[in-house]
Symmetry: C3
Subunit: 273 residues, 3 copies
């Protein structure tokens, strides 16, 4: 099933509209290209509706939101809904400021998202209004472990039910769930957290996957999360003793560039709950 998800991305090469932050935007664009899709970045309110129209999917990331782009996010999101385009929300740093929290909540009200992807602190903030966000990273108090896994799975399914979105919570263990089914994913490498924007890249990748597989948003999102983690493993094996987070960043994108459905199917490590 995961194989088919990736194969469809390379076959359909969907054009993905990204309204994202200026920190990791280049990596997001190269990641979208690496998986076989096409990125376009546009964020002026005068053009986002029109740009959305020529695209097939949307990725909204609030990492460096501002008064100008918040409005554009809403316009693009609503247009994506009208057109039936899958839309992904990455609520970067939600809980770290009132602006981020209120913007994410307004987006959730105005736009129906196909997938919401964040770390556990961000998802908790969205779901219950409190999470202990440490800037853009998850707080250790919120961490998903083998011990609290069942509890978190139940929580994530409930939030998925309420929003109608697939929820992807990424961390040491990744969870991807709709109201009924959760993928608990064990791919990845701890060093991925030493690179800025692996989460942002994954959200862009997820947008490509769900856009190419509109009938299967849960499986498509799970495939994207597995692919990113697997790329982190493959890239880590290449590192020499002198390579650090900058080289690792490049190798992860490189690994997606060379990955196909078969490699993903073979390398994915998950259980379904």
């Amino acid at each position: 099933m995961l194989k088919q998800m990736f194969d469809q991305v390379r076959e359909k090469s969907p054009l993905i509209h990204n309204i994202t932050n200026y920190v990791t935007v280049n990596d997001c664009a190269n990641m979208v290209l690496a998986c076989g899709a096409s990125p376009i970045m546009a964020d002026d309110k005068e053009e986002v509706a029109e740009i959305q129209t020529i695209c097939a999917g949307l990725n909204i990331n609030i990492g460096t939101l501002n008064s100008r782009t918040i409005e554009s996010m809403k316009i693009a999101g609503m247009r994506a809904n009208e057109l039936g385009h899958p839309a992904v929300l990455d609520p970067v740093g939600v809980g770290a400021s009132t602006l981020r929290t209120s913007t994410a909540n307004e987006l959730l009200k105005a736009v129906k998202f196909t997938v919401i992807r964040g770390n556990i602190s961000e998802i908790k903030t969205l779901a219950v209004g409190t999470g202990t966000t440490k800037g853009v990273d998850a707080d250790i108090a919120d961490r998903v472990t083998e011990e609290n896994l069942d509890e978190v799975v139940a929580f994530v399914k409930k939030f998925a039910e309420r929003t109608g979105a697939v929820i992807a919570v990424t961390g040491a263990i990744d969870l991807v769930a709709d109201a009924k089914k959760a993928y608990c994913i064990y791919n990845g490498h701890p060093m991925m957290s030493s690179i800025t924007g692996t989460g942002c890249q994954l959200s862009a990748l997820t947008a490509a996957f769900v856009t190419a597989n509109q009938e299967h948003p849960l499986e498509a999102a799970a495939a994207a999360v597995c692919a990113m983690g697997l790329a982190g493993e493959i890239a880590h094996e290449r590192l020499t003793s002198q390579d650090g987070n900058a080289t690792y960043r490049n190798y992860i994108i490189d690994a997606i560039y060379h990955m196909d459905g078969d490699e993903l199917e073979h390398g994915a490590k998950f259980e379904v709950k």
Copy 2:
């Protein structure tokens, strides 16, 4: 002749003002440095005229245009004209939205450009008002091939005549033409299209080349296009079986860093029509 074009860039090290998009801006800056020139990025309307004054050339790229920067582009472009500085326009995604199309057309009216560089869909949109832009990539229907080459050359020369600019159309075959003479360039590698912003980087490189060679805009632009394609070939030869588009991106900039006029002269593949 191409040799001299590159040698002049390294000798004069011109300071190039770039008003460009936030997706590929870092690569553009490193590309300008790689060829021996110096970049400065400034986009606030309060400073762009002054920044232009201390520079020698200008590169305008509308990739992530917005209401604030559009005005800055006009101011900088008009100031460049007043000062006799070469100016390059990269009309990224023109045709994909009304905002992009109207902005590019307004810039063409307000500013005399030395070079306009885009893919064939973008150039067609500028020239005849219709191109089938697929986001920021050229549409396959517009593609330049051996079969339609003479026809496209004639079209590009005509548009060069009308605008007074050198027109650089990049794709599988690159065309660089003024009203009378066209370089058909066969350097490059298909994998370059899997990197975000090779076009943006080329526009920045072209600005450096035409600024260092003001008496020879056609040859300078052709040299920049050959250099970029040759860098794509050299970089591709270095790739291991695990290297993908992220590493390739770095290697292309690295190849320009090590290139000189002799290597360019020797490696350039073109015919003149």
Copy 3:
């Protein structure tokens, strides 16, 4: 002493708020992560005070300042002062435009900075109102050499006294001084100037170092400058004959990723004046 400075960064992992330019922001984020700290980038005036509150330090860089972000810089800087957070100013290109010069001067009036880091032309512009800034690079006329070293040291100490900030002047020889003591640092490699944003990265690194070592701003800033230069040396040794400025950029961040207090202590080359 330098060893302790770096060890504290890795031990405390301070969260650093960066209001910086969109050219080098990704490298700044990866550099902050490489040294063991955490970055967050936020620049909307509605959230910067709140974001500052959850952080421990601040890095302001005016590289692509605009009317919107200038106000945010002031708000964040004043909030950092109220909270007792160390703040670093990188006055990129000050002297190149009236907007940059007036913004830097206003920031110096409104905010007490812990460290001001720039090239010699930028620091001269701030200190005496005239420097011969060549865009974002230092002018050769201003260059620090063995011949004028004592004179420049005296000048920098005086500016440190007036501002109450540690002044870091980077170039072929780096100076880091407060009113009484100056570190003259001989680490680094000339090829570092062929990468965009090594200065920006150093300012972000410096913010991490002074935040983790609040009792020792002079030593912390000197340690950051030595670390960056040493990383430039280590990275340069890794370069093959085909590697250029793009690969070098990655290797410098990689070198910081692997550096620890001992390596820094051992590799730092400086004298105190």
